[in-house]
Symmetry: C2
Subunit: 124 residues, 2 copies
């Protein structure tokens, strides 16, 4: 974008984390029409991802908990920066695949990726 | 990075948010040696930032709460993606300046920016 070119990002500091992962762990009251990531086990999955990346020695990234990312219907969701790639994931196996393919190999897990226009789960 | 070139980010979806701001609102027990952002009023400042951006009609971004960003000594901290620029901020006036200069004008608030090597507050 033109505004970025004038000031940076060329002049911005080096990244503090190579990959910064934000996993929504927001909880809404039971019965909320949008649901929430926490009721879909997001906290356990985020803790699993954090533990697994640590076990694998991936020390140049951070697996953060985050408040509501506002894509509740597609949850649990995560977004990986700086690339801004979003995933909907539902199991430790999904997490393992994201770690291996995206974080280690630098690829993308196409079957779990969200597109900007995604609003509802594919199966609904 | 070479791994990115092979798979993307050229092929990645468009950004879901133009700017995605993560404000640490983590709370540690009182007296913890690292301190925490919440004891430095981060929740109130984050809520102020969210409300102000909404009032200004900046609808293409999100001001998220986040768990511990692990730069506690420099808190309250925020990081703005995709550019990965970090700020340490302490007042509504700091927030206003980040909104105006960074989010609206596309610049940087140099006096509040963190560098990767920053570990302790400048005044310590």
């Amino acid at each position: 974008m033109s505004d970025e070119k004038a000031f940076g990002p060329g002049a911005d500091p080096a990244p503090y984390y190579r990959k910064h992962i934000f996993c929504c762990t927001n909880e809404r009251p039971a019965g909320h029409p949008r649901g929430c990531c926490k009721e879909k086990d997001s906290l356990r999955l985020r803790n699993y991802m954090k533990a697994r990346t640590k076990e694998l020695g991936l020390s140049d990234l951070r697996v953060n908990a985050a408040g509501c990312l506002d894509r509740c219907e597609l949850g649990p969701t995560m977004v990986i920066y700086p690339e801004g790639v979003w995933y909907s994931y539902h199991s430790p196996e999904d997490v393992d695949e994201i770690i291996r393919v995206h974080l280690v190999e630098g690829g993308r897990v196409a079957r779990l990726m969200l597109q900007p226009e995604d609003k509802e789960p594919a199966e609904s």
